[in-house]
């Protein structure tokens, strides 16, 4: 059981990341937050340091959320296949197609799908489930 969690935020909107970061800072169990507006940059960070939780936007330019997940799975299998990172997909769109795609990654720690806007109770619920 962990007492604190490191978190990576991936959303092409810096303003959205800033808001989520502000909410997370109010939660005691969060020890570190790293925000990225580019999924590619997030991958570079994750290669060196796997977080406990990743909040991932889907619709992003250059590399979208599902392309990120494909690359993330490769990285994780090489550097830390046993490390338990929880990936939370965050989107403004709840399409059955998106849910189906997200389920495809279930075996890789992608077990949550939440809708924008993220609020504090969403985050606290997710952490309660982790403990």
């Amino acid at each position: 059981m962990k007492n604190t969690y490191s978190v990576v935020l991936i959303d092409d909107s810096r303003a959205v990341n800033s808001k989520t970061e502000a909410i997370l800072k109010e939660i005691e169990q969060i020890s570190a937050i790293h925000s990225f507006s580019s999924a590619k940059e997030a991958l570079l960070h994750i290669e060196h340091s796997l977080p406990d939780m990743i909040f991932l936007d889907i619709n992003m330019p250059d590399m979208d959320g599902y392309e990120f997940l494909d690359a993330y799975i490769q990285i994780k299998s090489v550097i830390a296949s046993n490390y338990s990172t929880r990936v939370v997909v965050v989107s403004g769109l709840v399409f059955s197609e998106n849910l189906k795609k997200t389920n495809h990654y279930k075996h890789y720690g992608v077990n949550d799908y939440i809708c924008k806007p993220i609020d504090k109770s969403d985050l606290e619920d997710l952490l309660d489930d982790s403990i």
Binding site: D12, S13, R14, A15, V16, S18, K19, A22, I23, D57, N59, P61, G92, K116, P117, I118, D119, K120
Partner: protein
């Protein structure tokens, strides 16, 4: 605050909103400028990407007017209603300005 249709503050405290809203408006304005650059081009994908981002950002900050204007523009792009785009972009710009003036006068955000 509830009477203003352009900005419904989200759950953040007024102090945090005051810090974060300049970031929000800077980003939304920059994204709006990108939309203008692509207006008139046949390929609507860059505009769709941009307006989708504005929509999500506005939703996160409770900026209802901007969110609704972005939805209308996104729908027009999806339906290929090119003759409506300019008007809807102007409506989006109006919503951004209204929300900014409201946030500035009610929340005393920085310029």
């Amino acid at each position: 605050m509830e009477d203003n249709p352009y900005f419904v503050p989200c759950e953040l405290s007024p102090e945090l909103l005051k810090d974060l809203l300049p970031v929000f408006f800077e980003e939304v304005r920059a994204d709006y400028e990108v939309l203008l650059q692509f207006l008139g081009q046949k390929d609507h994908h860059p505009m769709s990407q941009g307006v989708h981002k504005i929509k999500g950002t506005a939703l996160s900050y409770g900026a209802q007017g901007i969110h609704q204007a972005a939805i209308a523009l996104e729908e027009a792009l999806k339906s290929n209603k090119t003759n409506e785009l300019e008007q809807l972009i102007n409506a989006l710009n109006f919503s951004i300005k209204e929300a900014y003036h409201y946030a500035k006068s009610h929340l005393m955000i920085r310029d």
